[in-house]
Assembly symmetry: C2
Homo-oligomer: 429 residues x 2
């Protein structure tokens, strides 16, 4: 017989937790599948802290694992964050007791998703994490549920709103990275310690999860190659724009010949391309399937409202009684993927050099590229005020990455080249 009421325990009362409490207070009859969800208990670090939402009706737990274990809690919602520590312990406690878990914790799933999936499936407990990726935009549901009749070859997109906000502001305001970051911190768009976002780690957590869902492998955060936006210079944004591109932090996972590549790095997307046109804190994702073709999805990637709505949708899924593998295949059969050999990667690139203002420089650079086997697509030299040198920028035709790196090393060694070349990839999407 179907249950009428599901009793929810919420651990973590930050932005998303507050959003969820607020949502269920506004919609106490939330019964999307005929049954009703009601919060019965909460947990957070500090009971006494002032909050702009009322938790007096819920039982309080100092220890999230005790909340997860409480017999009155039927569904455990984990919004604590962090890959290890109390979040992991509490999720494990709930799963061991066969309780459904809903979490927004991308680091936890990216790093421990495989082990947690085994635990979840062994105890027949759903483990859902829609809110971990793209907030209220249902990327997880799309990959886990809608693409099962297809074979996905690639997912690629913009998964960190903070980085996209910074890149957009740098371009539209013609302001340097540090200035925009400081403003984003003031406005609350970036954390006081922004490393997780701007270092690309948050996007890497998310793409590791999407890769596991897309390809039916274990999430393998350690195999992700990660470069953040902290080294993106305003000069590159301007020069890229002159060449017809915008710089975006692209997270991508691709599968080819049995190898899987998971990467996060700044990349150039052509003006007019949906990723280039994804601005501010928006997130966006392409999913490429053999039968379905390309699906593009774009929406807000964070925020209390969207993320709490994603948690609520997961709670509704729990209430339907659905059972499916956490990652496209039974967890005991998942293998961590073999990271792709960089030599197998082929792509176009943008290379910026600071060179001496003297004759023969372009010839020397061109010859070096030709020797190594890199073919030039476009060349741009613009008068830019720059102490002690002239910036030139070139884009290449598709080149094996190993060849490209060798070429850049050789160019960097030329006497006319004044600083290490800056290479950015051109997005292959």
């Amino acid at each position: 017989m179907a249950k009428d009421v599901w009793r929810i325990g919420v651990a973590g009362l930050g932005t998303v937790g507050g959003g969820l409490v607020g949502f269920l207070a506004e919609a106490p009859t939330f019964a999307p599948v005929g049954a009703r969800a009601t919060i019965v208990a909460v947990s957070a670090r500090d009971h006494a802290r002032a909050r702009d939402f009322d938790i007096s009706a819920y039982r309080w737990f100092d220890d999230p694992s005790a909340l997860a274990a409480d017999p009155d809690v039927e569904v455990f919602v984990e919004l604590i964050g962090g890959a290890d520590g109390p979040a992991k312990a509490a999720v494990e406690t709930a799963l061991r007791l066969g309780k459904p878990v809903v979490t927004a914790n991308k680091a936890l799933i990216a790093k421990h998703g495989a082990a947690l999936a085994i635990l979840a499936e062994a105890h027949d407990a759903p483990l859902l994490f829609e809110a971990a990726v793209m907030g209220g935009t249902p990327a997880v549901k799309m990959l886990r549920e809608a693409m099962v009749g297809d074979q996905v070859d690639a997912v690629a997109g913009i998964l960190n709103g903070t980085c996209n906000y910074i890149l957009t502001e740098m371009e539209t305001g013609s302001r340097p990275f540090a200035e925009v970051l400081a403003e984003a911190q003031r406005l609350g768009y970036a954390e006081a310690d922004p490393t997780t976002d701007i270092g690309g780690f948050d996007a890497a957590h998310k793409i590791s999860i999407l890769a596991a869902l897309a390809f039916g492998c274990a999430p393998n955060f350690d195999a992700a190659e990660i470069e953040g936006v902290d080294r993106v210079e305003l000069l590159d944004i301007k020069l890229a724009h002159d060449l017809g591109y915008r710089i975006r932090l692209v997270a991508q996972a691709t599968r080819a010949d049995g190898e899987i590549s998971v990467r996060v790095h700044p990349a150039l997307a052509p003006l007019g391309h949906p990723l280039a046109e994804t601005r501010g804190a928006l997130n966006a994702l392409f999913i490429e399937g053999r039968r379905i073709g390309r699906i593009f999805i774009q929406g807000p990637g964070a925020g209390a409202g969207p993320t709490a709505a994603a948690v609520a949708a997961d709670i509704a899924d729990v209430m339907t009684g659905a059972r499916r593998p956490v990652f496209q295949a039974p967890a005991t059969t998942l293998k961590p993927f073999a990271a792709v050999d960089a030599a197998h990667r082929v792509g176009k690139a943008y290379v910026r050099l600071l060179v001496k203002d003297e004759p023969g420089v372009i010839a020397a650079v061109s010859e070096t590229l030709a020797e190594v086997g890199v073919s030039i697509d476009s060349f741009l030299q613009k008068p830019v005020e720059n102490a002690g040198g002239v910036p030139i920028v070139l884009t290449t035709h598709a080149t094996p990455e190993s060849v490209l790196l060798k070429a850049i090393e050789r160019i960097g060694a030329l006497s006319q080249v004044l600083e290490p070349p800056r290479m950015l990839r051109i997005a292959r999407i």
Copy 2:
């Protein structure tokens, strides 16, 4: 205990049916949720017809209702099409027996969805129709499952690939409607009888379904206002482009003040807007939720591969054992929506006139608009070779639709205006 194998009966072996048979033949171990799907029986109009896929391994039924009733068939897949007749009878037969039904039949769901949902829920049988809207792009799943933690105020998009292909070709090739339609028919992008597509009825079926999912109402195809693309002239496409727009067949459903509006009509979308940039046979949809904000999704809306993949995803959903209402709320509580009063609608418009080439015409038109209370946003007069008159085009600021229609009537009556004015709405998205 979870079932290991689910036995599927497929009625209808056209493009999508063939795609599904091909898919399950290629992937006979299709076990997306741990269980396996296998076709056991098929039905179509003509057993003897030559097919490029093999059906010899399946039991044959001439009558789809007999197939639906067969005790060996556990899941009934309806790919016959048509709102009434054998498709409806067979779906009802399956639901009455408590068998899950998966269908790609948009006309059936748009016209009889409310009654079928009551039948489905009374017999605890899932009724799924992802493939009915946007092919492999999971619009139905997004609205039915991912938005349950939100309140949707609007859905709007491009839901008919044939119309979008025609409009795109007219613009890029500078060719008239009839020529592009004839080519589309030759290439198989349009049916021999194209009325369902170009008349806007197919898009109206789809938006009626999405409205029911978005707002938790009964689908009410009869309340949809429908205008197709058959009256879109190349001249309007060109003039709209000069003004910074592309013409798209926009299907939209909005809810405001308890009223619901479901409409399909050609509308102008600004260049650079995702709908304007949705080209060829692609489909696209905006979903606007109060908490989540705007989600945009774009992908192929038809074709054997994508649509069969959507059917397969629905079969996987059946296998999970999930139970949820067909349309966001228990079917017995669904109400058909009250159509919005046109007087309540406000929007911008494009108006094209053919006028006498004489002084004072623009003054006369402007005065007439001012008298009725319509404010002009832009005016364009271009030398266009046209027998016996000069085309002028104007766009208005936001105006109540009743006022706009009165203004157009008055302008049409001016002695200097040579033919009935052509009005197109500017998309509000």
